[in-house]
Symmetry: C2
Subunit: 662 residues, 2 copies
């Protein structure tokens, strides 16, 4: 494909026209970036990117990430023009309207050609790091014949200024991810004005300091762009290409200024732009010759994909490769059998340790699991024995030393899951979910199977004190839609919750695990955690009380039950490892566990903030009772803290008696 | 003060001895950092730091931040040895035990000499940036006579690897904060092992790329340390000193390895260390000569402070300076009068715009307010007319262009508030509270008066779609202890909430504000928002329903009330701008607003996750009703979204009627 600059220029202008017209029609959106990066993106798609619009999910395609997601009209234009089935021109006409797949920011769950949801700045680059990791891992596992592609990113100043950029590029540099290429829209403009208002950084020097190659081009000179992209493509280091551009290029009176970043151009300026660009077509009309050139570009990948399909057809590992890429788990009978053995056991370990033990069952059986930790391997217990480190000299390794980079880790996990062929999990302390919270949210929004192993899940971590003691975190993550928050009570629930997490292909999971040992409470039952909550111990005699607890407080609930029974007061103990799964059960089951009987006193016990528990306790005798911790913790040994904050049967039983007596 | 190396070495060993003995006694803690950085810290305190243990809150002291907060025994040792009243030797003996001020991580609310709470990695450096900003601002305002001090930081590899470090040093470099000096404990060890496991970055090059000076020293050569610190002190740029150290220096068999990072040395190794260091005293005993040398160091500041006190006594601005530093607001009568005018008005603006309008009342009257935004000035409406930019050429400016650095901004705000003399506020979109969540948590834990202006607070932001639409954020921030989460319903409540936030000296605040216009609902009453919730519109006739709403949904609740009244069903409308303040009211008031009458149907209306609302609605006819959004949003105009997701009187009234009929 050798398209000359005079063919490329009108193609780029087609992006500009679609972008300015769609933003104008919506009266909302960001024309500046798509117009500014139209030339660079045209060269990328025309000459470098490996893709086939007829097969958006082709496993060996290059991944393209629009990290500066507000410039969504750039990717919508590119996908439409190159011949993807989605978005259609009608979708583009309805940009940012209800029902159009052309949402304000690109959403992976709306359009197949959108590799990931972007908009929260910085995370696109960081997800691309994960995609590049997955690519190298699968390449090392399945060979060049099946896996050999690049990850290309378009990023703006915001993506580079966010803290997560430091984590992402540090990880990429350390791992020597030479297949990762970031095209920086270097336009010197942010929303507030010139970048010099807030930054004076030498970005190239910083990238070089992190082990990257840095290239540079005039982002409006097609030959220069092609040269720089070729240099980046040839580099064996992760590469940044500084594309010097004019934001809003093509809008003659507004280009280069910050007003063009996030507002429609207005009809007068659009008229001026049409004249400036020599664009005579009506809005949303693409001249046939230009459309034809774009379609030719879209056909570039047909033969390449056919070759790949032919190689796949004769590859010994084709079935395994395809299984992993489609996200199907391997046969799980061995794991079910191991679980049955666990239930029959009698463990007394922290749930973080139970998690490690169970990982040693899972990881050998599920080779696509790639673990890691943000520098807390020995505390999160995330490394299975069968896992070697993932390093530049061994990309087949299945354990990532992410470093002290929680946000970068979580975003990379999303990237790996989105790439496919890998099930990522990663650990940090539960408290530091705060550091990566928006990436966890993006796991939920993007429906990725990312599994967060978050240990030290309450004041039970003890001496490290309130900066390290999560009190609001379990409940606050329950508020994120499409996220399973598991807080298992013992080794059996831990194994069950892990297994459910792996089997949940479109829902990410958090496993909140203890530092401290817990006795095994479950000695029967099969995957009871899958119901979200269940009656662990039934009342003796008349049930007056239902104790609902999670994690380390289930043991306490059992003790409270014992004391109540000694006083002739019947009490159920309900273990609720996952509120979201319980809420998804049918009403009959929910009523079986929590009967619709306001004469029974419902009591929640969880070493965290109580707000949110009223959902399950308030419809109850005297409005129910919530035992929790509605303040920050303190520094002391765990046992002292639990006593100090009232997590003992001695402190709880009188409160229950008082509620029952009124 | 010219202490030679042979005097300094035993002083540093006193830190080592206290640290290893305290960690051993607690059987918990981190000996590696205090032992490794003992020599550097000794030089810093002995020769550079301006401080007076007799006056820990002396306004012109140097600020010292132990960013690597896990090494807390370092600062406890230093404070005790130099003669601060707290911590005592008994506190150190009881390190990490309930009731000791020597908590696992340093807590500013437990010890006066601890400038800020550290432990969550990276935030110490970022708070120090804020302290250095406050210093320069007050210097520009009050002159060298009153304000002329440095901010010194000790940071570890973790602090430098976290993403927030990029934001913090970028901000410091851009603002040319030459009074900021970071001493990096360059020991090449993290928890998981050698730093090379996870990073290959050229840290010095990265700092230089951000406009910093970088110096280097052998962290165990007193003369070399002194040289490097002197060079850093003389630099007019923010400076990093790479202190090459051996982690756990002094423990002969463990030093230099990652096992010494976070575990007690054990009695055998402590014995070996005593021999290695020539330390013959019993645990927690400091030889008199060494104690004397340390006390001499502690007296270094006495005369310096006396000179400063003398200058203050004759300074024209002394009263104003002292007022600001003590955190007292100026006389607020003018502001109260302006508020009365507002109540009498008839505005129809977005609450973000009302916030801007009210800022134009507040900022001229309260000169210590320093605002800013993370590159969303025009969207957050955070800039008051009277504010000039805070820049390297005008530190008297009161508006900070923080750049696209939410986490760095929030931590800097904490640093400014902790420094004193400044009331910081800063803006971003509410959704990006995720990016700075742990800094908001640290505002709450540290009891700083930081005010977060978080706009675009619901699906009401419209077309930007689910990545930008907070649904869980308002409720999830309500779960953080000691944080006021305000969601005002109109211009009057916005002004009231702003005023309460300013008057809350030990509680940070979030103002969740709309993008879209809202009518003025309040036309009477004085600071009703201070009660957290109040009856905005009373029922006509028998009250059957109480509608509880916040922010933009209060207008909707009023419409619903109208429809119910039309059908002869009496309904109160309760506006609840701040759940935390309502929860703090006495029971009589709470019962006045929400009577203890389960025959009344309570209905919450808020365009967000409903879990958590049951606290106020479940004790109610049929368990109450929660109108909310328990899913991610979508991209469309706001009006379309509100209709689609059921936020209309037409959708809500039938649900209420159904609840009433059963």
């Amino acid at each position: 494909m050798t398209l000359s600059s005079d063919r490329l220029a009108p193609m780029a202008n087609a992006i500009r026209a679609l972008s300015m017209d769609a933003v104008q029609a919506a009266n909302s959106g960001h024309p500046g970036m798509p117009m500014g990066m139209a030339d660079v993106a045209t060269v990328l798609f025309a000459k470098f990117l490996k893709f086939d619009p007829a097969a958006p999910k082709w496993a060996d395609r290059d991944r393209f990430v629009l990290s500066a997601g507000h410039g969504s009209m750039l990717i919508y234009s590119l996908l439409h023009l190159t011949g993807y089935a989605s978005p259609t021109l009608d979708d583009i006409r309805n940009f940012r309207q209800m029902g159009s797949v052309c949402a304000g920011h690109p959403e992976n769950f709306l359009i197949e050609g959108v590799e990931c949801t972007t908009g929260p700045l910085g995370q696109g680059v960081a997800m691309a790091v994960g995609m590049a990791m997955a690519e190298r891992h699968l390449n090392a596992t399945f060979g060049d014949d099946l896996v050999d592609h690049n990850t290309w990113v378009i990023a703006g100043d915001g993506c580079l200024m966010e803290g997560i950029n430091h984590e992402a590029i540090g990880l990429a540099g350390t791992l020597k991810l030479g297949r990762l290429k970031v095209l920086w829209d270097n336009n010197k403009i942010t929303i507030d004005g010139d970048t010099s208002l807030s930054t004076t950084e030498d970005i190239a020097a910083r990238y070089r300091a992190s082990g990257w190659d840095v290239f540079d081009c005039d982002g409006h000179d097609f030959a220069d762009i092609e040269r720089a992209l070729a240099e980046a493509a040839a580099s064996d280091k992760p590469s940044l290409v500084s594309c010097r551009t004019l934001i809003g290029k093509g809008a003659p009176n507004k280009q280069g200024g910050h007003d063009v970043h996030g507002s429609p151009l207005g009809t007068a300026e659009i008229e001026a732009a049409r004249e400036y660009l020599g664009w005579t077509s009506a809005p949303f009309e693409i001249p046939a010759e230009i459309a034809g050139d774009w379609h030719l570009i879209g056909k570039r990948g047909t033969a390449v994909r056919a070759d790949w399909e032919a190689r796949l057809a004769v590859n010994d590992q084709a079935a395994e490769f395809t299984r992993r890429m489609t996200g199907e788990l391997p046969e799980m009978d061995g794991i079910r059998a191991a679980l049955a053995e666990w239930v029959a056991g009698d463990s007394n370990v922290a749930t973080r340790k139970a998690s490690e033990n169970w990982l040693n069952v899972l990881a050998p059986a599920i080779p696509e699991m790639v673990g890691g930790s943000a520098d807390l391997t020995g505390s999160n217990n995330t490394k299975a024995k069968c896992q070697d480190p993932f390093t530049p000299t061994d990309y087949a390794g299945r354990y990532v030393y992410y470093g002290i980079r929680e946000f970068g880790m979580a975003a990379a996990m999303n990237g790996m899951a989105l790439h496919g062929g890998v099930i990522p999990y990663g650990g940090t302390f539960l408290i530091f979910s705060d550091y990566c919270r928006n990436a966890i949210r993006l796991s939920a929004l993007q429906q990725t199977r990312a599994i967060y192993v978050l240990t030290h899940d309450s004041i039970g971590l003890g001496e490290d004190g309130p900066t390290h003691q999560p009190v609001e975190h379990v409940m606050s993550m329950r508020l994120i839609p499409n996220l399973y928050v598991f807080r298992p009570a013992d080794a059996v629930e831990t194994a069950e919750c892990w297994t459910i997490a792996l089997e949940s292909r479109e829902t990410p999971s958090v496993l909140a695990l203890t530092r401290q040992n817990l006795p095994q409470l479950r000695t029967s039952g099969d995957m009871l955690s899958a119901r979200g909550a269940y009656t662990l111990r039934s009342a003796e005699g008349d049930r007056k009380v239902i104790l609902i607890a999670t994690g380390s407080e289930v043991e306490l609930a059992v003790k409270v039950q014992g004391e109540l029974h000694a006083q002739g007061i019947g009490a159920d103990v309900v273990s609720m490892p996952c509120m979201e799964l319980f809420a998804a059960q049918d009403e009959a089951y929910q009523r079986e566990v929590l009967p619709n009987d306001p004469s029974v006193l419902r009591v929640s016990i969880e070493a965290g903030i109580t707000q949110g528990w009223e959902r399950y306790t308030a419809f109850s005798r005297n409005g129910g009772l919530n035992i929790g911790l509605d303040r920050f913790g303190a520094s002391a040994p765990a046992k002292v803290l639990f006593e100090r904050f009232g997590f003992t049967a001695e402190a709880i039983v009188p409160k229950i008696l008082e509620k029952l007596s009124t």
